[in-house]
């Protein structure tokens, strides 16, 4: 599968992609995050073709919303493709296809927001997990990343603006422990460290530095 493959006939709705809201990272981000943010910002700027006035579009159907969301996620991911190993990225795309499949989407749910997806991508770059997360979504447009290893569970809701809302349950030396918090992405690795996050992420051979 190529870096960006959208499993439907391409429609002429590029204007939506130009309008994509890309969130800025929080202050004090690393060089990698800044580079990602710059790329996302450039990506969000409309091309000269679309600088003119736009017509007001009718409300989009659920199918259109899901399609457009998926397209935006894949194109956004492609802008940081150098940080994700090809096979890893392709499989992530398959998961996104599966999560946002029209046949299984709850009609009352909005698709995950681009802000949530941007946080998700930055989280992957910062955590550098060898294992991809399982994917889910809340009923209000937040992407959920989960890692499960036997009974040890880590669940991260990717909120806008590089904020992670996380919950975990682990068994350490025979004792069950639970923890939860809302943490800026940059500190996420640090707050997870006491719980041995390698149990979920394993090694980091599949995510490369630029």
């Amino acid at each position: 599968m190529s870096a960006v493959q959208i499993p439907r006939a391409v429609r002429a709705d590029h204007a939506h992609l130009g309008r994509a809201v890309i969130q800025k990272p929080s202050a004090g981000v690393s060089g990698i995050s800044k580079e990602i943010a710059d790329r996302l910002k450039r990506f969000a700027e409309p091309s000269p073709t679309f600088l003119g006035s736009r017509n007001v579009s009718p409300p989009k159907s659920l199918e259109e919303q899901l399609y457009d969301g998926l397209a935006a996620f894949k194109v956004t991911t492609a802008t940081i493709a150098m940080h994700l190993e090809r096979e890893w990225r392709s499989r992530l795309f398959l998961q996104l296809d599966s999560l946002l499949a029209l046949d299984d989407w709850d009609v009352e749910d909005p698709p995950p927001s681009t802000g949530s997806f941007s946080t998700f991508l930055r989280m992957l770059i910062l955590l550098r997990p060898a294992r991809r997360p399982g994917l889910g979504a809340t009923n209000d447009g937040i992407l959920i990343a989960t890692w499960t290893s036997d009974d040890d569970r880590l669940t991260i809701d990717c909120l806008d603006k590089d904020i992670a809302r996380w919950h975990l349950a682990v068994t350490i030396e025979g004792e069950r422990e639970r923890a939860a918090g809302i943490t800026p992405l940059l500190r996420l690795n640090e707050v997870l460290l006491p719980y041995g996050p390698q149990r979920w992420f394993e090694h980091a051979h599949y995510v490369s530095s630029p």
Partner: protein
Amino acid sequence: MPITYLPLEHHVVRYVPWSRLRKDEDDNVIGVLGAAFKLRAQEDYLSATWAEFFQGTRADCIFSAIKAIRASSFSVTPRSGFAIGNVGRVKDACLADKQRHRIRIIHEPEDDNKAHSALRGWPRDNDPLLDLLAEDMWSETVLNKDVPHSNP
């Protein structure tokens, strides 16, 4: 009409869409997410279906509850699932939380689902509790694809 509280030893079945099932990186379903029990902004209570409203063995009751959900106006999608929880354990977990949620699980039949039940006083902002329910007290999961459409 008198209020019917569900007996503690009975069970409730909740529909869980594909996006709220807990999956591994290859989309194998492991269970449900805490988000499966989160109220929508406009909801006052959590909806579920009372299994023992129906007659028969435990399996019969759960099958009938799933059939009732399928027959309702709800859109049950192919890869969705159903989470089964024990009434007493769910109530105890909510009460044991530090916010001490005193929930009520009430039979509130609807035109399209006579076994419909409402979980009232449901926590609105307590994700750790919802995660605990998903992991333990309300974790039993049946996939829609694994439940036949006719009597087993």
